[in-house]
């Protein structure tokens, strides 16, 4: 019984981790690019943007 419980919990935890990873990967692939491409013709490059 205990072995079954451990296996069950392992599958649950593994599933949770896998789910979180998938959500993270989907987020990272569908979000706008985190680094806005530099405007190479602008002499003053932005150090960064706050939003």
């Amino acid at each position: 019984m205990q072995g079954f419980l451990i296996a069950f919990v392992s599958v649950l935890v593994g599933g949770g981790l896998a789910g979180a990873t998938v959500v993270g990967l989907v987020d990272s692939q569908t979000a706008p690019p985190e680094k806005s491409p530099a405007n190479v013709s602008d002499p003053v490059l932005e150090y960064g943007t706050t939003s």
Partner: protein, 564 residues
């Protein structure tokens, strides 16, 4: 099994470092935002703190310049980056007690965080070194409280953790917070002062230019995605620059899950951690966490106040990038996560559930921010400098008198040879002379002025009507060499022909020697004396640490002989 339990956490710390850096460890130089490494950084007067600009890179530049005369710059950069990440993970193990599950969780909770990833991507490597030594400083400070000896490791940890002003302040706070006792107060305070003396003294000498633009409020922490700023900061994220935030942090679900796990682990692990670390160390860690979180939130809640402090109080600029202070939160956060996992694993006697807790807890931070892996999915590709840069450097082996200015006179570049990634212009560091660089920063389309009084003067000189008068004006500012990057976008405000003798012409760089009289900069004798004393104290601390290492080795050898 005992072997695995013993070495798995350390191996995990190294593995996470390798996974975070990924391609950055390949041949070439990782050049990203403020991270500029060159093949051989020549030691020059300004690196000691004698320049006209606020000494932001004191003592880190001088330390690198000395070390890369022994180890090539390319190798040194990888050693520093991988070493920092691994050292941080190993330090977290020291805060996590004896449970292997807890140790694995501690490593992940300390290393795989938005703070580490964002600061790596923006290139704040001295800050990462500070973050890496903080857990070690906690352990060493607690030991010092007991035996009153500085020991062999503490001086080196303190130096490594104090390579920039913010870093030095945080290392000092943690060390003094945990280790200060009436008996050892003087020794500990002297060690802290010695480690921070170079930037402290250089900062005091530049007091007249030690205020930054009041517009520096833009550097406060920000919400990442839909998560409110206080929650973003709670999960050690919220860097001001949205360009270096991993995409997985811009959703709401994963950061929210992380926040929930952190709170649950803190509640569960608190009693256990307090019992293990003792009240004094725990109180100091809590105080550090509150201070770090408070300063970070202050930069968000009151950006005008922080900007005003930076603009009017010398040294107030230290507070403007409030997210840096989240390093102070990292040790307690990781230790609580580990203690929470230990308490959870302790509910079972069998090994299997403990393994599940350890593995799941160790993988959870990775699952919540998977796009940090492999250098942000390959974004951290190292670059190779153009061939003619080395030739330009060789042409300046016997340089004419005066400082160097690089045109176009702008601070950041996005070279094609760096994959279009932004980086602080590396050419001035690549060449060997003291230099003037434009310290104005463009953020959100606004230009934030810097502190170096020579920068507006150089911009004015470039507006002179002809090349000869520009050369004369630059010469009056102590500039004797003008390097021009010919593959960089330019505009008349930042670039104009300067008369002189061309001493190098390459595919992407031209170097001109100004023939007009150059008013050489001579630092005041008082500056030289003060900085010599500061660097002397810094070296003395290192010598003290070295002496302690030899003493330790000697006493161990004698003990071993005694047993034989």
């Amino acid at each position: 099994m005992r072997f695995v339990a013993r070495y798995a956490p350390a191996a995990w710390a190294l593995a996470l470092g390798l996974l975070l850096l990924g391609p950055a460890l390949g041949p070439g130089y990782l050049l990203t935002y403020d991270m500029v490494w060159v093949p051989d950084l020549a030691l020059r007067g300004d690196f000691w703190g004698l320049g006209t600009a606020l000494p932001r890179a004191v003592p880190s530049d001088a330390v690198v310049a000395v070390l890369d005369s022994v180890v090539p710059g390319m190798v040194l950069q990888k050693v520093v980056l991988l070493g920092a990440l691994a050292l941080g993970g190993l330090g977290a193990i020291r805060l996590a007690g004896r449970s292997t599950a807890a140790r694995l969780v501690a490593v992940s909770a300390y290393v795989w965080t938005p703070f580490v990833v964002e600061r790596l991507w923006i290139g704040h490597w001295p800050l990462l070194l500070c973050w890496a030594v903080l857990p070690w400083l906690v352990v060493e400070a607690a030991r010092f409280r007991g035996d009153g000896r500085l020991g062999a490791a503490l001086p080196f940890l303190l130096v490594v953790g104090s390579l920039s002003a913010n870093a030095g302040v945080m290392s000092a706070l943690v060390l003094l917070g945990v280790g200060l006792t009436r008996r050892g107060a003087v020794r500990l305070a002297l060690a802290v002062v010695a480690a921070n003396a170079p930037w402290l003294v250089a900062g005091v000498l530049h007091l007249d230019s030690a205020t930054s633009s009041a517009a520096g409020g833009v550097f406060g922490v920000n919400a990442e995605g839909s998560l409110p700023t206080p929650l973003s900061v709670l999960t050690l994220g919220g860097i001001w620059n949205a360009e270096v935030v991993p995409a997985s942090r811009t959703g709401v679900v994963l950061p929210l899950v992380l926040a929930g796990v952190l709170v649950a682990a803190a509640v569960a692990g608190w009693p256990l951690l307090r019992e293990r670390l003792g009240r004094r160390t725990m109180d100091a860690l809590v105080a550090s966490w509150l201070l770090g979180y408070g300063l970070a939130l202050l930069s968000w809640a009151a950006p005008e106040t922080v900007g005003g402090l930076a603009g009017h109080v010398p040294g107030g600029g230290l507070l403007r990038d409030g997210g840096r202070f989240l390093a102070l939160c990292a040790p307690l956060t990781a230790a609580l996560m580990a203690a929470g996992a230990e308490r959870l694993a302790g509910r079972w006697r069998e090994l299997a559930p403990k393994v599940v807790v350890g593995v799941a807890g160790a993988l959870l931070p990775l699952a919540l921010m998977p796009d940090a892996a492999w250098g942000g999915g390959g974004d951290l590709d190292p670059a190779t400098y153009p061939d003619d840069w080395a030739a330009a450097r060789a042409a300046l082996a016997d340089p004419p008198p005066g400082d160097l200015v690089v045109l176009p006179f702008t601070s950041y570049r996005a070279p094609t040879w760096n994959g279009g990634r932004k980086v602080l212009d590396p050419l001035a560091r690549y060449l060997q002379r003291d230099y003037v660089v434009n310290d104005q920063l463009a953020v959100d389309g606004r230009l934030i002025s810097g502190e170096d009084p020579r920068v507006p003067a150089v911009l004015d000189a470039l507006q002179e009507p002809d090349a000869t008068s520009r050369a004369t004006a630059l010469g009056r500012l102590g500039i004797g060499i003008v390097a021009r990057e010919t593959d960089v976008p330019t505009s008349p405000a930042y670039d104009a022909p300067v008369a002189g003798t061309r001493i190098f012409h390459g595919a992407s760089v031209d170097v001109v020697r100004i023939d007009a009289p150059v008013a050489l900069r001579e630092p005041p004798t008082s500056w030289v004396v003060a900085l010599s004393a500061a660097w002397g104290a810094f070296l003395l601390l290192l010598l003290g640490g070295t002496w302690n290492v030899f003493s330790l080795l000697w006493s161990r050898m004698r003990t071993r002989r005694g047993f034989q």
